[in-house]
Symmetry: C2
Subunit: 295 residues, 2 copies
DNA sequence: CCAACCCATACATTTTCGGTATGCCAATGG
DNA sequence: CCATTGGCATACCGAAAATGTATGGGTTGG
């Protein structure tokens, strides 16, 4: 059963004549006649009544016509859909992001994406650093927003911005009075830390910052989320060092202060599989850059 | 866009491997590889990711797969449906019948048909003699139940039974007393007639009956339907001569009496277009014969 | 480093398709 | 009644496409 035969069949059924259909199909009449007869042989029953003034569908032909035209439409639509997906005009874009970036970026990023790729289903998931990496690798996520970038041979990275590290203190703390906090003032103070470097590379950036300024802060608590870290700071358990954008999610009673002599910052990056051929990635990248520009 | 290509594509997508799919398709691996690449060229985008351990659908491929398998199923179903219709296992049987036969035949005929051809849609229409003929000719009716048979070169006829003519009288009429009415007693009495022979050949059968017995009955009224004829008889306007089976629809106050010396009868026939290739006709014929046998 | 696995390419063979020429049949018109 | 016309079917040939066999090349795993 060949799709071309069905196309010919539908044409003849609509034209009610082999000659007319052949004209519309830009072919000679005899081969079309042959194809129709082959189709009838394949079905095992006549599909047309041959009259002296053209062809007329039999009931078997009518039964076939309904399905055949639908099948033709489906096949054409399938090809079109595949092309649209490949061109990035339709499909699904699955984005893994991290909590700290949510408040800062998503309100700008999502509307931007909807304008740029209206036919694409968006799917946002807040994921931990290790999960983002795993799901990029198994392709269940198309792109990830990371801070800092993922370092993996299969994963490609585009840096779209940076965030300075800031000290997070309770507003009633004496440190809150300073507009800029000298690094030396942190010496020996308790630190509320995020998951260790194996699970969250942001932690190693913080460690590096402290090491570079030869400041030692004992770890007073490890938490999974930025939100928990701020809660512990608010409770007076210690201080945290977080990217500036975390401010947007900070509760009342918490203030962010720049570190005077440390200009250390952390990269915001878009990450995706090096072999991903999704054309949506470059669009996503543009949108993410716009969203970061306003930070 | 060829159905074979789509079939191959679906096979490869399901087997997640060209080699495995080729095995299932009973063909060599290289031509299948070529076909898949041709399909990708036709779509203009890769449909599979080639891994070292097989093939994996891209998103464009997934978009195509859904439609392609549906299109394949539709094409197969179309062929199957056409075969089923040609074999008389599915389709539509449109029956034109006449009012006088409705009470006598349909209660037996319809259940019989439903048992014999359960997949077929039945469509019964009560039609006048001339309409039955016209709609047989334009194929909007597949078969017709007629009394008497239609006489037309394009129409084939099978006689399935006969009905004796009977005299229809009001039960209070003196003629109702007789168990058999001699033809001579009808001389000069008013006749309630059905439409003239051009529109209803049953009328010419009645005329022939009277002529053969040299009886003259003035026409006291022409009506369109048997029902109207009986109403006029009940009203005392005259007498009617109808096939025996009309009794089943007779109102109270009307009786049917055999004609003593007239053994005249009228054929019940099944009629269809000589060139109709519907396999349902022979089944219909069998069912109609059964239904008539019990009259 | 070799063997196994899997896909891609090359080439020869066969099938199928489409075009041209022509025949057949029925309806139409003088 | 014969000629013409319109429409489909058949025959044959050249071209395109599909399939099979042989082989290359890359990656994985022992």
């Amino acid at each position: 059963m060949d799709l071309r035969r069905l196309r010919y069949f539908v044409a003849v059924a609509e034209a009610r004549s082999i000659g007319k259909a052949a004209e519309r199909l830009r072919m000679a009449q005899p081969p079309l006649s042959v194809q129709i007869r082959k189709l009838e042989a394949e079905i095992g029953a006549p599909l047309f009544r041959r009259g002296t003034r053209g062809m007329d569908l039999t009931e078997a032909g009518q039964a076939l016509l309904a399905r055949a035209s639908e099948a033709l439409a489906l096949a054409a639509d399938g090809a079109e859909a595949a092309r649209a997906v490949a061109a990035g005009k339709r499909g699904r874009l699955s984005v893994g992001y991290m909590f700290v970036l949510a408040n800062a970026m998503l309100p700008r990023l999502i509307p931007e994406l909807r304008r740029s790729i209206p036919g694409v289903d968006l799917d946002f998931a807040e994921l931990s650093a290790s999960t983002r990496e795993a799901r990029l690798l198994d392709r269940s996520v198309t792109v990830a927003l990371c801070m800092p970038a993922i370092n993996h041979p299969e994963i490609q990275v585009a840096r779209i911005g940076t965030q300075p590290f800031m000290l997070v203190v309770p507003s009633r703390s004496p440190l809150a009075r300073l507009s800029k906090v000298p690094m030396a003032r942190l010496q020996g103070r308790p630190l509320i830390a995020l998951p260790p470097p194996e699970r969250d590379p942001a932690s190693s950036a913080v460690s590096a910052l402290l090491r570079r300024h030869q400041v030692v802060m004992p770890i007073a608590g490890r938490v999974e989320t930025v939100h928990s870290a701020m809660s512990l700071v608010l409770a007076g358990e210690g201080f945290a060092i977080l990217p500036a954008c975390a401010q947007l999610g900070a509760p009342r009673g918490i203030v962010f202060r720049p570190l005077r002599d440390a200009s250390d910052s952390i990269d915001i990056a878009v990450c995706w599989r090096r072999d991903s051929q999704s054309p949506l990635i470059k669009t996503f990248l543009k949108c993410a850059e716009k969203a970061v520009a306003r930070l």
